[in-house]
């Protein structure tokens, strides 16, 4: 895998060099050569333009006091008022803290577990067993969060919930614990259910990366007397590195926009201080109150933070590991 990317990048460099030397005429020549490729990409460029760039027009709303059913020119312009209100609201900071906390937890555990799981699964010899485990582990991915939330609440219930029954019968605790009523448990519960649901699914891509590793490397290391753990450490993990880093950078870009399904469905009134996330906040204080402008201001804030995070992460990895997505 690594070798192919290297080849590709060297080819790119050659093309760039030839482009520079021959200037415009060269470009047209190249364009003519690759016209089918260009043509095929046109619809997707249009698609990206319509769905990703045209909606940016709506960002103007954040600088207005938007009222529905009124034309664009009849709206009242308020400058940065929406942002000022946003940054003065205590709840916004709480929501920001919760969002970042849960997404960092999700990022860390959502990476470590699938990677370990993929490596372990790769070492399994019995093909039938391996396939069965893989299928079973990614099935929860297809279960909707509504159902998962139901399962989790039931399992953690004090009224016959399986976790409490187990802990009590093992004499680890005397009284059932009210898991869902404790704010400090909430982040953990969300992260754990997320890992349970998505681990198997995320594993697939790592398994694919592992399949791409040259078997000769393993053979060579065996000849040199490397044990299985040495092979994992020195061959499998480095072989997956590119995939891991690309996925990591992309998920860092999504850190602030983690959605609100989990928090909305698992939360309750007692844990709102820990379960309120930015999207939920935008829904409640923006959309549900017809404050479209305020909601837009929140989403602009989200996008700006996402872009900053993405570029920072990309830059750091580019410097330290020479891997990057841009």
């Amino acid at each position: 895998m690594e070798s192919t990317t290297k080849q590709a990048s060297s080819r790119k460099r050659d093309q760039a060099a030839s482009l520079n030397s021959r200037k415009t005429g060269g470009f047209w020549k190249l364009f003519k050569q690759q016209r089918y490729l260009y043509l095929m990409s046109v619809p997707f460029v249009i698609w990206a333009f319509i769905f990703s760039y045209v909606p940016l027009w709506g960002w103007l709303m954040a600088f207005q006091e938007y009222k529905p059913a009124r034309s664009f020119f009849d709206q009242k312009w308020v400058g940065f008022d929406q942002f000022i209100t946003l940054f003065q609201d205590q709840q916004f900071y709480l929501a920001l803290r919760n969002t970042l906390a849960m997404s960092f937890l999700g990022l860390i555990f959502g990476f470590i577990f699938p990677v370990i799981f993929a490596i372990l699964l790769n070492e399994v010899r019995g093909m039938v067993f391996k396939r069965t485990v893989q299928t079973v582990s990614y099935l929860p991915h297809f279960v909707s969060w509504v159902v998962v939330a139901g399962i989790v609440t039931k399992a953690l219930s004090t009224d016959g919930g399986i976790i409490n029954e187990l802990l009590v019968s093992l004499h680890i605790i005397d009284q059932p614990i009210q898991f869902m009523a404790q704010g400090q448990w909430f982040w953990g519960i969300v992260t754990a259910s997320d890992v349970w649901k998505e681990m198997g699914w995320s594993t697939i891509i790592y398994l694919a990366a592992i399949t791409g590793i040259d078997q000769e490397q393993y053979e060579a290391s065996r000849v040199d007397g490397a044990g299985r753990f040495r092979q994992m450490w020195h061959i499998t993990l480095p072989g997956m590195r590119t995939t891991i880093i690309v996925l990591l950078i992309m998920s860092i870009g999504h850190l602030v926009s983690i959605g609100f399904e989990k928090q909305f469905l698992l939360g309750n009134n007692l844990v709102t201080d820990y379960s309120q996330v930015l999207d939920l906040y935008a829904l409640k204080y923006g959309l549900e109150m017809n404050r479209y402008s305020y909601g837009t201001a929140i989403s602009i804030f989200n996008s700006v933070i996402s872009i900053i995070l993405l570029f920072t992460a990309n830059g750091i990895f580019k410097k330290t590991t020479k891997e990057s997505i841009m």
Binding site: R35, Y36, L39, M40, V42, P43, F44, W47, K67, P68, A69, Q91, G150, T153, K154, S157, T158, D159, G160, Q178, M180, A181, N268, N269, L270, T272, D273, L283, K284, Y285, L287, E288, M289, N290, R291, Y292
Partner: protein
């Protein structure tokens, strides 16, 4: 060569156009612009209340309506109830159904200019609507500044005499029977009953007995946790506010010192182990399944909230586990005001949106739904199927009645009775020209609808219906502003944002206070009061006060309620 080039370019385009074609395939070809009642028309509708028994007009009543009017209702109901999110999306996109039941979100629709003024339409095409509503039509005016009529009230009947109670505090009939029907007047009596029975029966059907459970999932926390606080302390229901009957001054009702004592009692119940510790973490379905298992002895809820669980108790042969309603108060000084008169009904209703292609046809349909024929159809069902006429009297056959009581959900789905409240209608206790009641809720029918254990309990208290146990309407004055929760709330952000904030605080702090140790209760509750007494909150209350005053003034111009 060009053909090859063309092919390459075309391939992705074809795929994409296919995708868009399927995505846009939702438009309805049956929609036609005509007021002619003989052409079939489909009217789209959105209802803000969940309606799990809606059967797409495949039921008997629905078929009869389509036959008579050529109208098919394409209805969508909000899943969790409330409709706020859905309606916010509608106003953002500008796409509305033809007819809408917006509940509290009516202000958003009016603000967005989405509802049409029905005043002239009713005047021209609504003889039945005018007949049913009578002189009180002016009460439908939206506000002092905007005297248009935007909705026709559908969830309150005109001339309604309520014959049965569905609220108060509930205790299983089996519990009352075993304890010899003690008097239940105060929360202490209620507590003792639950405690005594629990000590005698630590388990029911093999599972631990739950003396009292509440439903605090999302907005239901208002129904079973915060509303009972004013109900049990002698105040009427005005939503989240308490309105001073003399000065019309509005304040968040949790600020009343009596209510603090009510919550202190709940705190005590929790610390005694009588309140289900999962009260504030369980979801509605968990709450329902606990009730349906028959092991929850007491509730503080409204019947419509736990109805489905009670139906399932009846279906599974545990009728003795159904609940009776008692007007429990914090102490003997106050009276339950559930039945205080709110004057002519105004309230949540159905409006026609600007998206409707043929408002005249729709108002004609709504007018037909207000006719005697349609009201009887909606309330009684189809003649010969769900009811019979004997000597000029409408009678429900025993077999139908039996299903109505014990298999209500399926019965409603098949018959469609009560599912078509699409227009103004008479309430319980009003008789048609033939001397029959419009609705099936009249004393004899209500009593026929009780299960045997319910009848037994009522007999023991010398009552015919649950309502007999409650203080009656003539014990209180008529409320000049109706019921505040029915009025459109102010729409400017100073009100909405601060109101939402107060709700966030209350819904967080009250559970916290109830689940605290008794010595912590005061600290948490007082802190909450401080948090909802800031200047912003006071401004919000002042704005609400003004709205109440305006309403009283607006209605004062109208002929007085009879």
């Amino acid at each position: 060569m060009p053909s090859k080039l063309f092919r390459y370019a075309l391939a992705p385009l074809v795929v994409m156009s296919l995708v868009t074609a399927t995505a846009c395939g939702g438009s309805d070809p049956t929609e036609q612009e005509t007021s002619d009642p003989s052409t079939p028309i489909t009217i789209s509708f959105f209802g803000s209340d969940a309606s799990p028994t809606w059967n797409n007009m495949k039921d008997d009543v629905g078929q009869a309506i389509t036959k008579a009017t050529n109208v098919t209702i394409n209805a969508e109901y909000d899943v969790s109830g409330g409709g706020t999110q859905k309606i916010a999306l509608m106003t953002a996109s500008g796409e509305y159904p033809d007819m809408i039941f917006p509940k509290g979100s009516i202000t958003k629709l009016v603000e967005a200019g989405a509802l049409i003024d029905l005043t002239d339409l009713i005047d021209k095409y609504g003889p039945n609507i005018k007949k049913v509503y009578g002189d009180d039509l002016s009460r439908l005016k939206y506000s002092k500044e905007d005297p248009s009529i935007y909705v026709i009230p559908t969830n309150a009947g005109v001339g309604q005499t309520t014959f049965d109670a569905g609220g108060g505090f509930e205790v299983q009939n089996a519990v009352m029977k075993e304890l010899g029907y003690p008097k239940i007047k105060t929360v202490k009596d209620f507590e003792n009953v639950l405690k005594e029975y629990k000590e005698k029966h630590p388990t029911i059907n093999g599972q631990p007995t739950i003396p009292l459970s509440l439903n605090a999932d999302d907005w239901k926390i208002m129904i079973t946790v915060t509303n009972p606080a004013f109900n049990a302390t002698g105040a009427p229901d005005d939503g989240e506010f308490y309105i001073n009957p003399e000065t019309y001054e509005a304040q968040l009702h949790y600020k009343r010192p009596e209510e603090k004592e009510y919550f202190r009692w709940l705190n005590h119940m929790y610390n005694e182990g009588l309140l289900d510790p999962e009260t504030f973490t369980q979801k509605s379905d968990q709450y329902m399944s606990k009730i349906a298992s028959g092991r929850v002895l007491g509730l503080i809820d409204q019947e419509w909230d736990y109805q489905q669980a009670e139906n399932s108790l009846k279906t599974s042969g545990m009728a003795e586990r159904t609940y009776g309603h008692y007007p429990v108060q914090l102490d003997e000084k106050t009276k339950d005001r559930s039945f205080q008169d709110i004057g002519a009904p105004v309230g949540y209703g159905i409006g026609i949106t600007t998206s409707a292609k043929d408002p005249i046809r729709i108002i004609k349909f709504m007018d037909w739904m207000a006719s005697d024929e349609a009201q009887v159809l909606n309330n009684w069902g189809v003649e010969g199927k769900q009811y019979e006429v004997k000597d000029g009297k409408r009678v429900v056959p025993a077999a139908v009645q039996e299903r109505k009581v014990n298999d209500n959900t399926n019965f409603t789905k098949e018959s469609g009775i009560g599912m078509y409240n699409f227009s103004v209608r008479y309430g319980d206790g009003v008789k048609d020209p033939g001397g029959n009641y419009y609705t099936t809720n009249f004393p004899e029918q209500i009593i026929a609808g009780y299960t045997d254990p319910e009848k037994e309990t009522l007999k023991a208290y010398g009552a015919k219906t649950w309502k007999d146990l409650f203080p009656q309407k003539d014990e209180f004055p008529v409320k000049a502003w109706g019921a505040a929760y029915n009025l459109p709330a102010p729409d400017d952000p100073n009100y909405t944002v601060n109101f939402q904030k107060s709700q966030d605080i209350v819904r967080k702090r009250i559970p916290e206070a109830i689940l605290a140790s008794p010595d912590q209760f005061d600290k948490i509750y007082d802190q909450m009061i401080a948090e909802i007494s800031t200047d912003d909150m006071k401004k919000m209350e002042a704005e609400y006060t003004q709205m109440i005053k305006d309403t009283v003034e607006l209605w004062g111009e109208a002929p007085a309620a009879k």
